[in-house]
């Protein structure tokens, strides 16, 4: 069952991401629900897609449930939400690089870094 995300939480996430028009890669389960990227970690970011263009992880067993994950490319979608549209093949020009995982954007200095 898809997880409902409040409109304001999703809107705030989009504003923070600033990626309404950007193509991003999300890891989704076989129901098309966005999950943690770690579930697709062993996949090659979808960038070296197989013949069918839809790379998938070797099915693994979790409590007798076989779970298959894929990389999906489309607009930003919060974790727990089912994706719509987009594609399972890598669009041209998509970079495997993400940024902003360290540091404070804007560089506001309140003595937090230096000592």
């Amino acid at each position: 069952m898809p997880v409902r995300v409040s409109f304001m939480a999703a809107f705030a996430a989009v504003v923070l991401q600033g990626c309404e028009n950007r193509v991003v890669a999300h890891c989704v389960d076989e129901q098309g629900v966005v999950v943690d990227d770690g579930e697709c970690a062993e996949l090659d970011g979808g960038l070296d897609a197989g013949a069918d263009g839809a790379p998938e992880r070797e099915p693994r067993h979790a409590n007798s449930i076989i779970v298959v994950h894929h990389w999906w490319y489309g607009g930003y979608t919060p974790t727990g939400t089912r994706v719509t549209g987009g594609s399972f093949t890598v669009p041209a020009g998509v970079s495997p690089v993400t940024r902003g995982g360290f540091g404070t954007p804007g560089g506001a200095h309140a003595g937090a870094a230096g000592e």
Binding site: G45, V97, G101, G111, A113, G114
Partner: protein
């Protein structure tokens, strides 16, 4: 140790800005204060150098003790940092500099207040700005300051084989002071390589230099950037810069205990550490943890340069300083005297625990309270930087005051 009131140089603001000190004044309050200075005798400097060396040895032993006995949880060290700490402690990747903060009046024994070993700042003013001031104002006198030659020598050593091939990156959170600190370190790396030319690229600085080390000419760029510009390449599983070039050597003016909690913290693994050097290395997070003060007191009780310190409360002390393990720039510090709060500061920071250190109020010079910052490069005493304030807690806005050696 004496304090003197002196005349400021004519057009001092333009002068220090031209030397890189863009943050000489903040909100109308002077940070660089050349209307005063301190003086030491040669004998005092010699003593300070000895004490600095001894404190460094003790801190190494205390750090080794924490690692050998796994006392991470007591010091609020995130468990995800532990493998990185232990790996870098054994592998000994490059480490550069650090700074002891001491309470000292030149007469009694210096007392260790804290050790800034991961992200020390005030480097530019300690190494360069105060030297240039001394050359103008006290040209016939010396200064306890060998920071620049020692940093250049250290970079030369690192360039001789301890760094991975490729660029050296210099990253900060982008604040002006921090950019100037990493910019200064970049300069010392450039000097070690014999200079070169610089160009601007995408908001930071890209410098391309020829490294002449006897192995033939090689080009080793030096790249300044912000921490949030560091990229994670999920295909190659490594960190990259704005040009998507692999980062192999990066000096970061950014705390380890913060990095590990951020979204890229999950990529700080032994695998990525095997492909790149982070300077300062992860084990420095133990030295900079104020809980180490309690470990020091435990291992060296009664040492003349240490203050009593405990982890779980003030013990029987009625006068003490309560400091968060990861406090920086005097944030969240509380001074208690005779059971009453004397002074306290607010601020953000991780609530990982506190150390309770015996109270040693900073000496009073006509209402000014200096803290003596004793610098080390590669574990060797390299000079002094003094910051003073009206209060007893040294913070981000405490003034930097230069010094000279009087006799």
């Amino acid at each position: 140790m004496k304090r003197h009131v002196v005349d400021k140089r004519h057009d001092w603001e333009k002068l220090v800005v031209s030397q890189g000190l863009l943050y000489h004044t903040s909100g109308g309050v002077p940070y660089w204060d050349e209307g005063a200075c301190y003086s030491f005798t040669t004998k005092q400097v010699d003593h300070l150098e000895r004490v600095t060396g001894e404190l460094w040895d003790m801190c190494l032993k205390a750090t080794a003790h924490v690692i050998e006995h796994g006392r991470y949880e007591e010091l609020g060290v995130p468990s995800t940092l532990v493998p990185l700490i232990e790996h870098t402690w054994e592998a000994e990747p490059p480490a550069l500099y650090s700074r002891f903060d001491l309470s000292w009046n030149g007469l009694d024994e210096p007392k260790l207040l804290e050790f800034n070993a991961d992200t020390p700042t005030s480097l530019l003013e300690s190494a360069a700005i105060q030297w240039l001031w001394k050359e103008d104002v006290f040209p016939g006198f010396d200064q306890f300051n060998s920071l620049e030659p020692k940093l250049v020598a250290k970079w030369r050593e690192l360039l001789g084989g301890y760094l991975f091939p490729g660029a050296i990156h210099f990253a900060s959170d982008g604040a002006v002071e921090d950019r100037m600190t990493v910019g200064y370190l970049m300069k010392t790396a450039i000097d070690a390589m014999g200079g070169g030319r610089m160009s601007k690229h995408g908001g930071g600085l890209v410098s391309t230099f020829r490294q002449v080390m006897g192995y033939g000419d090689t080009v080793r760029p030096c790249v300044e950037m912000r921490m949030d510009q560091i990229g994670w390449d999920r295909r190659r599983k490594l960190f990259v810069d704005l040009a998507d070039t692999t980062i192999r050597n990066v000096f970061k003016l950014y705390p380890w205990e913060t990095m590990i909690t951020q979204s890229f913290g999950e990529h700080l693994t032994l695998e990525t550490l095997g492909q790149m050097h982070w300077i300062e290395p992860a084990w420095k997070v133990l030295m900079t943890n104020k809980g180490l003060l309690a470990i020091l007191w435990e291992l060296f009780p009664g040492h003349p340069n240490l203050l009593p310190a405990y982890l779980n409360g003030p013990s029987r002390m009625e006068s003490y300083a309560r400091k968060p393990f990861y406090s920086r720039e005097g944030q969240n510090v509380r001074l208690v005297k005779g059971g009453c709060v004397l002074e306290s500061t607010a601020g953000a920071g991780r609530d990982a625990g506190h150390v309770f250190q015996g109270l040693a109020l900073l000496p009073d010079y006509d209402g000014n309270h200096p803290v003596v910052g004793s610098w080390l490069v590669d574990g060797e005493a390299a000079g002094v930087g003094i910051r003073e304030s009206e209060g007893f807690i040294t913070g981000n806005t405490s003034r930097f005051v230069p010094h000279y050696i009087d006799e």
